[in-house]
């Protein structure tokens, strides 16, 4: 006779659907959250590797060692520049391989000399001003801080991320509605025993606690199922994407930290269900004398 709850929820038809609803929502929610995380990771990678860096292209015909040496000296003495490094031709070529392929790059394609400039943290270097100054030393030099295309890309990514989070919020709202209706129907089905418990001096929190336990069990069943299904989908996705190597797409697989963060979705589903059930019951009981 050791029962979890006094209220016989196990006989209740109306609770059957809740785990499925929660499972579906957690499945979609986890995927949405994963998308948001991947985008956010990507943006961060672009941000940290490309900002704070300036690339200077020196046309090959102007790349005589002493000229380059003079240029590097000028750059080193410029305020706000932390490090300067002229890339050896092999390294410059290697950068182009993912874009043009081994064949083209290896066949003696003339590649400009690249100078990699690291901006000191907190400093800002205007590429236009820098270019104007350097052109005096070397004709045809080009200074690029990747801002133009990077900021458009980051904007797009941020928008996608916000959209994913907004969808996640809508899914959470639907979960609340589903739990409210399930709980209300539970209150109606079990009104006799609820009135009886109330008459025996059960506090509202005691009765609400029983609904809360029930909501937790249902949501846990659905939430863990939905999260597991989403995990499988993400693994398949990562497996299919394993061959894709691109400078644009940093990586399509989630870090261990991201995986743990994804567990926030089923955990929130369970917490939201418990809290919603509790509030719904407390509001209904407040009407009793």
């Amino acid at each position: 006779m050791i029962r979890r709850t006094d209220i016989p929820f196990e006989r209740d038809q109306s609770t059957r659907f809740l785990p499925w609803i929660v499972a579906l929502m957690v499945f979609l929610g986890t995927l949405m959250f994963a998308v948001a995380l991947l985008v956010s990771d990507a943006v961060e990678t672009w941000d940290t590797t490309l900002t704070g860096r300036i690339t200077i292209q020196v046309p090959l015909r102007e790349a005589a060692p002493e000229k380059v040496e003079a240029l590097v000296e000028i750059l080193r003495s410029t305020d706000g520049i932390a490090a300067v490094r002229a890339l050896p031709p092999d390294e410059s070529r290697a950068l182009l391989v993912p874009w043009l392929g081994e064949g083209v790059v290896g066949s003696g394609l003339p590649v400009p000399l690249l100078i990699d400039v690291e901006v000191a943290p907190g400093s800002r270097i205007d590429p236009v001003v820098l270019e104007a100054r350097l052109v005096e030393t070397i004709e045809g030099i080009a200074v690029d801080d990747h801002r133009a295309w990077l900021s458009a890309l980051i904007n797009l990514a941020r928008t996608a991320e916000l959209l994913a989070l907004a969808i996640l919020a809508l899914i959470a709202a639907s979960a609340v509605i589903a739990v409210v209706f399930t709980t209300r129907s539970g209150l109606a089905v079990h009104s006799a025993i609820i009135e009886l418990l109330h008459q025996m001096g059960a506090r509202d929190a005691y009765i609400a606690g029983q609904f809360q336990i029930q909501a937790m069990l249902l949501a846990a069943r659905g939430g863990l199922g939905g999260a597991a299904a989403a995990g499988v989908v993400l693994l398949i996705f990562a497996w299919i994407g394993r061959g894709v190597e691109s400078a644009f797409l940093p990586r399509l697989n989630l870090s261990v930290g991201d995986w743990l963060l994804l567990l926030v979705v089923p955990a929130s589903a369970i917490a939201i269900s418990m809290l919603t059930a509790r509030m719904t019951v407390l509001r209904a009981l407040a009407r009793m004398p």
Partner: protein, 229 residues
């Protein structure tokens, strides 16, 4: 222990079911409540067990004015009141033992403690062999005894029973009355609503009589009080 002052009660916009009800129950007293069907016995009991609030007048229970008692403090008062409902209100998904155990669970007792207590009491009311039966598989009289066991399991300060012997034969009725008297002897204030004049005569406790919504109190006949053997 319990006091009604000029209590009036109406359901919705209907006529007054109770009018100017005045009475008080001393701690440890034993009263019958009687009156024709529809006279308002159940309504009066509901006011006493705090399921209804009067439309006018004052209800004092355990020396508290109910209209001034905050809602959060009512559960503690209700836990001290045992009720046998006219329609039993047993929960059919629960076994006899589980039904009787409910008030103990609500009061936060341990499971082991509950088990022993409940089985003992159910045996006492003659249901020792139907402990795990569902209420719907039991006779009306057996259900009534479960309802009574549930009302007294917590040794309430106030026991209110609405027709508790309506469905049992005379022999069991007397046995149940002894149970109530036993409880009364340990300090519980008892009110039993009944139609049975035989019961009133046999036990001779004071009588609250309802007639068309008005209440009169009749003193008991001490000599007639039955003693358990």
């Amino acid at each position: 222990m319990l006091r009604f002052e000029n209590v009036g009660m109406r359901y919705g916009v209907g006529p007054e079911v109770l009018r100017d009800v005045n009475f008080s129950l001393a701690p440890g007293s034993f009263h019958f409540l009687t009156g024709a069907s529809g006279a308002g016995k159940t309504t009066l009991l509901k006011l006493m067990y705090l399921a209804l609030r009067p439309t006018r007048g004052l209800v004092h229970i355990f020396d508290r004015d109910i209209s001034l008692t905050p809602r959060e403090e009512l559960p503690a008062l209700r836990q001290r009141i045992g009720v046998v409902f006219q329609d039993f209100r047993l929960i059919d998904h629960l076994s006899a033992v589980e039904n009787v155990a409910l008030p103990l669970r609500v009061a936060g007792a341990e499971n082991v403690e509950i088990n022993e207590h409940v089985r003992e009491l159910l045996s006492w009311v003659g249901l020792g062999d139907r402990l795990d039966a569902r209420p719907s598989t039991l006779s009306g009289g057996q259900q009534q005894r479960i309802a009574i066991a549930r009302a007294v399991i917590n040794r309430p300060s106030l026991l209110l029973a609405d027709e508790p012997t309506g469905n049992v034969d005379d022999r069991i009725a007397v046995r149940l009355m002894y149970l109530f008297e036993e409880l009364n002897r340990t300090g519980t204030t008892v009110v039993i609503a009944t139609h049975s004049n035989a019961l009133l005569d046999k036990f001779g406790h004071p009588v609250l009589r309802l007639n068309e919504g008005e209440l009169t109190v009749q003193r008991g006949k001490p000599s007639a009080t039955a003693k358990p053997s």
